[in-house]
């Protein structure tokens, strides 16, 4: 036995070597496991596939509980490029009924970051969108053969009636801008476009859910993470009850066929919009599914602009429908009383200026002037107000007072309807004329045409209808709206508040009486329904696009108004020719549910008429 004690010390070198290496490893492990968090995220990204679960979108019912808009499932085929493994492309193409070229193009498009800016091989990409249920069924059996592909269920809209497209709106895929503006959205989501779908998006869309699935190294799904304990279940969107009467809407749309213009019907007491037609309209089904893009382009390119909601975006000269409002202002300002009479010698003649009128008795007070739609009366009244410097100091001051009354009556600003894209119309102010004519260089005569709803004055059919509802209510209105109730939610207060213009209630009764007289013995006699007391006012608006626009406002029953209507038909001539018949039919249909036999001929005439042919130079 030998033992070399010098050599024995070498064990310390060996032990030292071991300890140094192990210490290095422990430091490395500390860095990996404790100091650095990123590996946890890497591991989670590997193992967990977060699958969004789309909530069902809120349904829409009309005021009578008819289902108008509902959901249908659609299936998007998604792929995660990183997870795709070689597969039988021919089988794949056959199953999806696409050609190899389409397949290659689809892949190329997907990877093209110009067309698909959010491309990443780690996140789900849309391969084919909106497969039918049959395609889905066929595919589902084979899906396991195509690792990296999966099916994402989506909600598309479906419509029970080919009507009210302008009110309902539709849904579209979100744009990069939408995603930027709202955290809720991610690529491929749908959002409301136009109409109620857009303005009530936050109620309709609900809340997305998430399912956390476990994915193994081969991309196969192994099940749910902790049996779904961390999943978030989707919350359905709120159902909406619209104020529309879908039957009335359809009827009004049918009357407007081959005409360009709008019909707005409001329940005066509540401000609920019963029907809102913009003509020409389109079938909302056109904007569903894979054909949406093509159809949308077709509608955009249509010369009649069906996507333009004339009822609330179109700003028109209100013409004689402006006169009841004029009467209210003149009475309130004390320019006239019910006995004040102005002469009409087939028109208003003042200092070389002449505004034509038609044959009726002269001179005449307010109510008969409304009855006969006398231009001269309102010109004189306007002139007396704007030029009364003793009271207002200047024409400009007087005009400002006049304008403020109109604003109170809902003109010149957006009413605040619960639909996107509302136009504010146009009511000029004194500054406007100062700019055009120079300060103190204009008077009533310069701008006399605004007194009869011509000239610079513009209003939307919704604003005109709202004024009619205000008169029907004898002095107040509620902001018009198309949604009557939201499931489990209190309606926004501003949609229920009464708004009182600064005009005495009694003057409204006087103007209403004048409108009643127009129906019983004036310009709107065609609206004199059997058994229903209708009040109305025609309008015939000159315009630069050809024949006059034909307009009508009316409400009924006279003592307990249930409906206030505005009809506006572009280039259709006298208000009595199209406005009155269509308006009266809508009123009759709504109040009685049918058209009386003796008025059937009017209905037939309206259904069959075509005013598009009168359309002039549209530029």
């Amino acid at each position: 036995m030998r033992k070399d004690y010098k050599l024995e010390k070498r064990k310390y070198v060996i032990i030292g070597f071991l300890l140094v290496i192990v210490a290095i490893y422990v430091v490395r492990l500390f860095n990996l496991q404790v100091a650095d968090d990123k590996y946890k995220a890497f591991a989670d990204n590997n193992a967990f596939m977060r699958k969004t679960q789309y909530p069902s979108r809120g349904l829409m019912f009309d005021r009578n509980g008819e289902l108008v808009v509902y959901n249908q499932p659609a299936y998007d085929m998604m792929m995660i490029p990183r997870d795709v493994q070689p597969f039988d492309t021919i089988d794949f193409c056959n199953t999806l009924e696409i050609t190899r070229e389409q397949f290659d193009k689809r892949i190329a498009d997907m990877k093209d970051t110009r067309k698909n800016p959010g491309y990443s091989s780690y996140t789900p990409q849309k391969f084919i969108t909106q497969l039918s249920a049959q395609d889905y069924g066929r595919l589902q059996e084979k899906l396991y053969r195509f690792p990296g592909f999966f099916i994402q269920k989506r909600i598309l809209r479906q419509y029970n009636y080919p009507a009210a497209a302008n009110v309902l709106g539709n849904i579209r895929e979100v744009s990069p801008k939408d995603i930027e503006n709202d955290d809720y959205y991610s690529r491929g989501d749908y959002t409301g476009d136009l109409g109620v779908e857009k303005s009530y998006e936050e109620y309709l869309r609900g809340h997305k859910g998430m399912e956390i699935l476990i994915r193994n190294a081969y991309g196969r799904i192994q099940g749910r993470y902790e049996d779904g304990a961390h999943d978030i279940s989707p919350k359905s969107g709120k159902n909406l009850t619209l104020s529309l009467d879908i039957g009335l809407q359809q009827y009004a749309e049918s009357l407007m066929v081959n005409k360009i213009g709008a019909v707005v019907a409001i329940e005066p007491k509540t401000g609920e919009i019963l029907a809102m037609v913009s003509s020409p309209t389109y079938d909302p089904k056109l904007l569903i599914g894979r054909e949406r893009g093509n159809n949308y382009n077709m509608l955009v390119q249509d010369a009649d602009h069906p996507l333009f909601d004339r009822a609330l975006m179109g700003a028109y000269p209100p013409g004689s429908t402006f006169k009841p409002g004029q009467g209210l202002i003149l009475l309130q300002e004390g320019i006239i009383d019910l006995n004040t009479m102005y002469p009409c010698s087939h028109g208003f003649i003042s200092g070389g200026l002449r505004v034509g009128c038609h044959g009726h008795g002269s001179p005449l007070p307010l109510k008969p002037a409304l009855q006969t739609s006398c231009n001269a009366f309102f010109c004189w009244g306007f002139k007396n107000m704007v030029d009364r410097r003793s009271k207002y100091g200047s024409s400009a001051n007087a005009f400002e007072v006049w304008k403020n009354h109109l604003v109170q009556l809902g003109y010149g600003y957006r009413l605040g309807v619960d639909l996107p894209g509302e136009s504010r119309g146009f009511i000029p102010n004194a500054k406007f004329y100062d700019k055009v004519y120079g300060e103190n260089r204009w008077s009533a005569n310069t701008i006399i045409s605004v007194s009869i709803g011509q000239g610079e004055v513009l209003a939307t059919p919704l604003q005109i209808a709202n004024l009619c509802a205000t008169i029907a209510n004898r002095g107040y209105f509620i902001t018009p709206h198309v949604v009557k109730a939201i499931e489990d939610t209190v309606m926004p207060a501003e949609l229920l508040q009464e708004r009182h213009p600064d005009i005495d209630k009694r003057y409204f009764s006087d103007v209403a009486e004048g409108m009643r007289m127009a129906v019983t013995g004036g310009t709107c006699r065609l609206a004199n329904l059997p058994g229903i007391e209708v009040a109305g006012k025609t309008g015939t608006a000159q315009n630069p696009h050809g024949k006059d626009h034909s307009a009508f406002i009316g409400f009924a029953p006279y003592d307990n108004p249930q409906i206030a209507v505005c009809v506006y038909v572009e280039n259709a001539g006298f208000g009595a020719t199209y406005g009155v018949p269509i308006g009266s039919l809508v009123i009759e249909k709504y109040l009685t549910g049918k058209i009386s036999p003796e008025r059937k001929y009017i209905e037939t005439r309206m259904l069959e008429s075509n005013t598009k042919i009168f359309r002039g130079n549209t530029k």
């Binding site: 290496i21 490893y25 990996l32 496991q33 404790v34 990123k38 590997n46 190294a217």
Partner: protein
């Protein structure tokens, strides 16, 4: 001499600390294998159709095997060391011929449903043979060159046979025996040289992007390192302080002059200038041998020449000798190449698995990286991942601590052996374990190239477990009889 009765007394003197650590590691191994191969519709840990169940069977048999070894007369290991060694060499050679090709390697002998890898058992016989050689009468390693030759022969014959089986990892494990040679008197310079070679290799291969003085910065760094080493050797090893000072002054002046020339726009062939500087220093040192003890100064010169020569051969070896996948593994381990889908995939995923464990881990059976098969070979070579992911930093350090304790214990056992045979053998065991631990854990945590060797006692596999069990229990048997040698 001991009587037959003394064999049973082995249990009285067996080192229970080592046995306990062994049992803990083996059981922890089975549990980890169960966790690593756990599937969601998995049966029990005891199911024999699963890895954990199979491993459990191997473990049971290992315990029996260990028990039997403790019953055997300790003298037969020394007596039959050479015959067993040669038998094993024959078996290794036969394996090359008859083994089926498994992923390019011919190292598995298949007997019906059971396969075994002779290379795992050859570790023991090689260790016994080496111990036998050293225990020869008056054998001193440093006494003559032929002793080295014999020792190296014992080590390298199995290495060559196993390399021929295409099992590079297993073959490299035998290099661990150089620790034993060092312990028994081999100059530490050999180990230092090996370390130096590794450093030169890593630096030269890793830093090839930027250029300094017209040569890759890695090569420049090796040159500077060589110069520093020469100065240090002169000062510390040769104790020739004046020579060291002069050489240092020469290096600093010459290198600075080169930089200034380069900065002034004189284009110099940097690499030859650097070689010239070193050669100049060497000539000066050779001159110095005339006045001082020559041997160590000559060694210093030899070192400088070998270092520079090695640097030039690195690129050649790397490009022309190593196979493509070996090059890739090295490049990935050095962080030169990012290849998360190819050569780097295993390491990348295993680092993610370990890193995601955090301080306390995700909990038993909750590891996603391992459960969902993101880490390949997770029940064999990458078993350490499962610990890292599910038991966290606490688990990994505890396991490392267990191994360190085991190895330190074996070294202490080695040093208390009365016979050279037992001491050498014990050092062999400690060296194998050290090497396996360093390479395996280093590979799993991304510090070493991927060399496919198992974590002893832990990794799945009967051959590996039995191989290490036999290795360890022979040591325990020898140790248990250490008191019987008073007769010497």
């Amino acid at each position: 001499m001991a009587t037959q009765n003394d064999n049973t007394s082995a249990f009285r003197y067996v080192d229970w600390i080592t046995v306990s650590i062994y049992v803990i590691l083996v059981i922890a191994g089975v549990v980890s294998i169960y966790a690593a191969s756990y599937d969601y519709d998995h049966a029990s840990i005891f199911s024999f159709s699963e890895f954990s169940g199979k491993q459990l069977r191997w473990v049971g048999l290992s315990f029996i095997l260990g028990f039997i070894i403790l019953l055997v007369d300790y003298r037969i290991f020394e007596t039959y060391a050479y015959p067993m060694y040669f038998l094993m060499l024959i078996l290794l050679a036969v394996t090359i011929v008859i083994a089926p090709d498994v992923k390019g390697s011919r190292s598995w002998l298949v007997f019906g449903p059971v396969s075994m890898q002779p290379a795992e058992f050859a570790k023991t016989t090689t260790a016994l043979a080496l111990a036998k050689l050293f225990s020869g009468y008056n054998f001193v390693l440093n006494a003559k060159g032929s002793n080295y030759l014999r020792a190296l022969l014992i080590i390298f014959v199995p290495i060559l046979l196993i390399l021929a089986q295409q099992e590079t990892g297993s073959a490299l494990a035998y290099l661990a025996l150089f620790f034993v040679l060092y312990r028994e008197g081999m100059s530490g310079l050999v180990l230092l040289a090996a370390l130096g070679a590794v450093i030169i290799f890593v630096v030269a291969v890793k830093f090839t992007e930027t250029m300094i003085l017209g040569m890759p910065s890695g090569e420049f760094a090796v040159m500077i390192m060589t110069m520093c080493a020469v100065v240090c050797m002169l000062a510390v090893y040769c104790r020739q302080y004046i020579v060291a000072r002069n050489v240092l002054a020469w290096f600093v002046t010459a290198v600075l002059a080169t930089f200034i020339a380069d900065w002034c726009g004189i284009e110099l062939p940097g690499i030859y200038v650097m070689i010239g500087i070193i050669v100049g220093a060497c000539l000066y040192i050779l001159y110095a041998t005339l006045h001082a003890p020559a041997k160590r100064l000559l060694l210093t010169v030899a070192f400088a020449i070998i270092a520079v020569g090695f640097l030039f051969s690195v690129n050649f070896v790397f490009q022309n000798v190593l196979q493509k996948h070996q090059q890739n593994r090295i490049l990935v381990a050095l962080g030169i190449k990012e290849d998360p889908k190819g050569a780097g995939y295993n390491v990348n995923q295993s680092v993610i698995a370990i890193g995601s464990g955090g301080m306390t881990g995700k909990g038993f059976l909750n590891g996603t990286q391992t459960k969902l098969k993101y880490v390949p070979e997770q029940h064999t070579d990458f078993i350490f991942c499962t610990i890292g992911e599910e038991e966290g930093f606490m688990g990994t350090t505890l396991v490392l601590l267990l191994y360190v304790t085991l190895i330190l214990r074996i070294i202490s056992i080695a040093e208390r052996q009365p016979t050279t045979f037992a001491r050498i053998y014990a050092y062999c065991v400690a060296s194998y374990l050290m090497f396996h631990l360093m390479i395996n854990v280093g590979m799993v945590i991304g510090l070493c190239p991927v060399i496919g060797i198992p974590l002893p006692f832990f990794s799945y596999g009967g051959s590996s477990l039995w191989g290490f069990t036999i290795l360890l229990f022979i040591l325990l048997r020898l140790d248990a009889s250490r008191r019987e040698h008073h007769a010497y």
